[in-house]
Symmetry: C2
Subunit: 312 residues, 2 copies
């Protein structure tokens, strides 16, 4: 019986790899650069080479390895076909089949945000839940939905694209997706900074943020924690927008828990508390008891989730 499995998380700059025991214990992890030359045609062979090397190094025979799970930054169909990963230069082809042929091993592939959600469920902040929504607050706002322990990929690979729920019909600024008023425009690190700058530039209100040279989401949270009124309002607005969007989500999939991750989630309890308060005020009564958890795996959620595709 197999004792090991690999989790691979392909990013735009680096590929993260992890060797896992079947219980989900991370045995070894490392990175290789993502070679995007020539339409990203070397990426999979680099991954295959890295895995074979590691198996040799650790003296793991092929029959002892359950296979390779992989997260890719783009929409992906159930059969492993990727439909354009612009960040990697990839067009449309079956990633799972191709890597499987190179390695002569079982390969499963998922979208990176969805795979990270699976990772948090398996070994992170979502451990113990089988129905959860992962909310990743980083440069953008990503999401992943796990129902009955499985990724909800969606028919166009857009399941859990919660950053593009329109929460403000009045917005005139355009989101990266081309729409206006998307959650991502307010709840991403970029959106938080933008809201702070707007508040500082359009009012004379005193705030310790005025003394900060480069405003970041962290600075906004730190100021709020220190009792700065303007920053507290900014955090409240963020909590309202997120709480409202998550209340929409619970009217659709009615999950057990929301797991909040990404760089912005380092703010910790202050963030969870404001999201939870606003969620409870806006959620359908039957769903008000949903739990809120902080993600715990950080940048490793992707390799954990990728391994979970194979080992869970």
């Amino acid at each position: 019986m197999a004792e090991y499995g690999f989790g691979v998380d392909i990013g735009g700059t680096t590929v993260k790899l992890g060797l896992f025991g079947i219980e989900g214990n991370l045995i070894d992890n490392w990175e290789i650069p993502t070679r995007k030359d020539d339409g990203g045609k070397y990426i999979l062979s680099d991954v295959a080479e890295a895995i074979i090397k590691k198996m040799e190094e650790k003296n793991i025979p092929k029959h002892n390895c359950a296979g390779v799970g992989m997260g890719v930054p783009g929409p992906i169909k159930e059969d492993g076909t990727v439909i354009k990963c612009v960040n990697l230069g990839w067009g449309i082809f079956n990633v799972a089949d191709e890597l499987s042929k190179m390695l002569d091993m079982h390969v499963k592939v998922g979208n990176d945000a969805n795979v990270a959600a699976l990772g948090e469920m398996w070994q992170g902040g979502g451990k113990g839940y089988k129905n959860l929504v992962m909310v990743t607050l980083g440069t953008g706002v990503g999401g992943g939905i796990i129902l009955d322990g499985k990724i909800l990929a969606g028919v166009n690979g857009a399941g859990g694209e919660i950053g593009h729920i329109k929460i403000n019909s009045e917005e005139t600024d355009v989101c990266g997706c081309g729409k206006t008023g998307c959650l991502e425009q307010y709840a991403s690190a970029t959106g938080i900074v933008k809201a702070a700058k707007k508040a500082l530039n359009t009012t004379d209100r005193p705030s310790r943020l005025r003394e900060v040279q480069y405003i970041s989401a962290k600075e906004v949270f730190d100021a709020a924690k220190a009792g700065d009124d303007l920053a507290i309002e900014l955090v409240d607005d963020l909590g309202y927008n997120l709480g409202l969007a998550l209340s929409h989500i619970s009217c659709v999939v009615d999950p057990e828990a929301f797991v909040i991750g990404g760089g912005v989630s380092k703010a910790g309890e202050i963030l969870i508390n404001t999201i939870k308060k606003n969620y409870e005020e806006n959620a359908f009564h039957a769903c008000r008891g949903a739990k809120f958890e902080l993600a715990t795996l950080g940048n490793d959620a992707g390799i954990y989730g990728a391994a979970a595709l194979i080992l869970k």
Copy 2:
């Protein structure tokens, strides 16, 4: 091998029953009153009696019947436990087990709105799709979500409670659920009439609706079809609210299709067209191609879906 199955749809006034062939063909359907006396304790025995009578009448031996599927008007867990059906007087008990004991047959139970969605997928407007969202525009706004051919019930039985997505943060009127600004307040038959009355009472604008004694959703659509400007605006507003809410839903579950049913859906193409237009304007780009279909089973969706629980 079994050739038949029963579908039962328990409503607040009547219980609808259907005898189906395994291919989904409706062989016979009839109704019995819903006896709500004494906390609804006679409802299941009445259902059992009705089914046994029909089997005798049609000369169907038990081994020739795959079982009974049933939709109930309340939240229900996967194991068949109902968690209060206020309309029936029911508390918390396992409906599937109880009916199964009475009949000595296999019984499966689901929430009525979800079961209707399954029915439309099986034999109605959603035929050919495996991932769809059913939107029922009646006295209220209900929903049912089918993913990979199966009902998404939600951990609190609130999966697909799309009528309670908050789409207006400014609303002060309270929804039946206790919140404010729910989709149901605008997109139900009641909501449409309310919006029409408000428009007529707060402006002097001419409209043929002023000559109507009892305004209904149908009157509003008829006036819009006849070119009445005020009614056209009301239909556009409805389309915006529904299109926006469905765009939220597609960022979560990314379905193939939306199936629009309920009394309001009798308006037909004018309704579908305005929902579709507003949906496409607000949906995430990957989801813009979702199909819009009219439900076709009407009040029979419930018995079809209930039978599908057993026969599909």
